[in-house]
């Protein structure tokens, strides 16, 4: 729904930059060794990768390192990308999240992460989000997360934003691990439907 609103806005005025180049096409050209296409792909996706990594890792310098690693991996493994199995953007963000989580697990002891949990401002954090598109997306994700049950929401946010394993989530929330797994699934399905992602 927000996409429609945004589309009508952009067609009238110049509130938003022109639509970003298609990441899938850029990735396919990257797979053929096209460095210019890769540079354009970086420009298109690096804010998502860096922003997400910063949110998960909570250390901008480390998030930069992870962003660099992710894009090197994208360059190296682009020939393996299969566009029929998902979008280029979700492929890159999946690689990025995996790396961000691995970095967090590597860098922080369990104790530090417990402290990080207490400090965490959660999805309501007030960082300035930079464009209309991102702000709308941010608001929509926030709204959809708030539509989950508390356990669903906490299980998903602790895992996604802080790199907890489901077993650690269970411990942190004093819940049964089997229940946590189920709530993650129920919550993700509800989130998927709320965000209008095709199942």
């Amino acid at each position: 729904m927000s996409e429609q609103t945004l589309a009508s806005v952009t067609s009238i005025g110049d509130l938003e930059a022109p639509p970003a180049p298609d990441a899938g096409a850029l990735l396919q050209r990257t797979a053929l060794g096209d460095e210019a296409a890769f540079a354009a792909l970086y420009d298109t996706l690096s804010p998502s990768v860096f922003g997400m990594a910063k949110r998960v890792i909570r250390n901008p310098a480390r998030a930069e390192e992870v962003t660099q690693e992710v894009f090197l991996q994208v360059w190296q493994t682009a020939p393996r990308f299969d566009p029929s199995k998902g979008s280029a953007k979700s492929w890159v963000l999946t690689l990025a999240h995996r790396r961000a989580v691995d970095a967090v697990r590597h860098d922080q002891s369990a104790t530090n992460r417990d402290l990080a949990y207490d400090w965490s401002p959660g999805i309501d954090h007030d960082e300035v989000v930079e464009t209309v598109t991102v702000r709308l997306e941010h608001e929509q994700v926030k709204k959809c997360l708030s539509g989950l049950t508390e356990l669903q929401r906490e299980a998903i946010t602790l895992a996604y934003y802080q790199g907890y394993t489901y077993a650690e989530v269970a411990q942190a929330l004093d819940a049964n691990p089997a229940t946590v797994k189920t709530r993650m699934r129920d919550g993700l399905i509800r989130l998927r439907d709320c965000l209008g992602v095709e199942s």
């Binding site: 860096f50 941010h138 489901y166």
Partner: protein, 235 residues
Amino acid sequence: MSNDLHGLLAPYALDALDADERATFEAHLDQCETCQAELPGLVETLSRVGEAESATPPPALRASVLAAVSTTTQQRPVVSLDSRRRLRRSLPQLVAAAAVVAAMVGGGFAVIEHDNVSDMRADQERVTAIISAADATTTSGNVSTGGTLRVISSKSHSAAVVSGSSLKELPGDKVYQLWTMHHGIPKDAGLLGTKDGMVYVPKLGDAVAVAVTVEPQGGSKEPTGEPVAVTDLAT
């Protein structure tokens, strides 16, 4: 058991599994069509969640990434161990295929790991297309440090599948790298791995032979030593 594994789908999508469970689930994922159908929607959902956190990285990072990329070799599509069953099923009619299967089954067949199932699928399809091509031809040669190099090429596809079997295992900082030979000039064709492996060569062009060298992990832009194997392509 299978139910238990299926329950790991959501934690897997969230990267909320430890390394062992992640490996276990990925093995299950290859077999589980329900999981394969459900995963993309969850992955796309979480990519929307990640995207909502967008923040512009420092400009210096762009220069650093582009500089690193200009000196980094790209990988070629490769085939995973997990695909061998399907491969075997689809190719029994061909002598060429039998050679490949023997190489894979006999050799332990270590390969560069895949990030997901769809990558493997795509590779399987490409490889199957070559091996099952009407004009598929097999050549093979010895590897000087031990083992055999087999090349199945198809003129109509201008592509080849190259496998190394019974290769001597290399130390972790070395890798077998494949080259296609064009009028005496070697061109990077991908990495075979640290022991047995397979590489799909999508464009043979005017190549007349393939060669294998031992290179530092990650591969080299040009060969840094004498080849351990050179095998002519079928003419």
